[in-house]
């Protein structure tokens, strides 16, 4: 067992990190072609610097890493095709938004003393 006293610090991916296509494929352990398919299917939405056609310019936001991993798990574990995964993600997002609104409607602001 290796023990080091060094304290490692990192960045919060979701907030501070952006990926190029090849970085995202490396980070998720999937091939770039498959990521391009996800973009074409509208599951991932890179910001474009310039032309959408130029894949080298694509920048993916930090949360994409989790999204890619969820897509892969849903495909593998539940046997859903990409269109189904896209729909699932949209519906899950909608449920989360509705929940947040429900909570906001149900709650009053508390008075702190």
């Amino acid at each position: 067992m290796t023990v080091t006293s060094y304290i490692f610090s990192g960045h919060i991916v979701e907030e501070e990190v952006e990926f190029s296509l090849s970085e995202l494929s490396q980070a998720c352990g999937v091939n770039a072609e498959w990521l391009i398919t996800l973009v074409e299917e509208g599951i991932l939405d890179p910001h474009e610097n310039g032309s959408h056609k130029n894949r080298h310019q694509w920048r993916f936001s930090g949360p994409c890493i989790q999204r890619v991993r969820i897509v892969r798990r849903l495909q593998q574990d539940l046997g859903i095709n990409l269109a189904g995964v896209a729909l699932t993600l949209e519906l899950l997002g909608e449920i989360n938004d509705l929940k947040a609104r429900l909570i906001a409607l149900e709650s009053g602001t508390a008075e702190e003393l």
Binding site: F8, G10, V13, Q26, T109, E112
Partner: protein, 315 residues
Amino acid sequence: MEFKDYYKIMGVERSASQDEIKRAYRKLSRKYHPDVSKESDSEERFKTVGEAYEVLKDPEKRAAYDQLGADWKSGQDFRPPPEWDQGFEFHGGGFTEADASQFSDFFESLFGGGNAGRGQTRNPHFSQRGEDTHAKVIVELEDAYNGATRTITLHHTELGADGRPNVVNRTLKVNIPKGVYQGQHIRLMGQGSAGVGQGKAGDLYLEIEFNSHSFYRVEGRNVYLDLPVTPWEAMLGARVSVPTPSGKVELKILPDSKPGRKMRLKGKGIPGNPGGDLYVVLQVVLPPADTDEAKALYREMEKKLAFNPRAALGV
């Protein structure tokens, strides 16, 4: 080791057809998939269902499992009979969809871990840079409020000189940045798999998971607390002390507060930009009638309050 009743886990009869088993698995895996299900134990359930299906979907494994007999009950102490798997030939492990390393000791004692030679083969493409790796790190909710240093132990499998996989442990001290929440990732550059040749090491991604707390629940940056109050605090209003992960605060309970009333303490959730809120949900707790005095007080209410909680039911 505990016996696992795979048929019961799948909710099917021992006589179920392969088609029925597949249908049951499809339904359960959708219900408990951790990315879809909001049930707190979904991850555990999903693994258990995956393990049961791994056995029952494969006629060879199912036949071997059935040999154990129908008298076993889930949770019973189990030891495989000495010659139990003789005469069975398992083809190629058959670990197709599931991650066998996640399975129970029970599974492993019957079918082996299925680790050897599986998933360990390096990517055949020549690659300079080491692979990026992922691990989960469990932290306390308080760490997200204050930041913290946590020691984590990572296990990974390496092929030894004899070609057999060994588990290697590695301990790292990691800064948990303030404001991080469950599901987010921390990237540690150069802490993934070693590079090939002159190549750089890959990165390590740590997924944050909160240790379950005895009274806070967390969703994103918002934190929920069920706050027990007395009937008189709820009805007459009160000032009460409320714990938050960043320290105690005083809270004003308005008169005529119903049980379940939700109150938001803005900015008392996990810090960030924007920071989360703390939601306090009132739970009215009845005082026990365990002394003569308490009983007398309840009797007095009974006499003087003329309160019928079932009025709306028409009785």
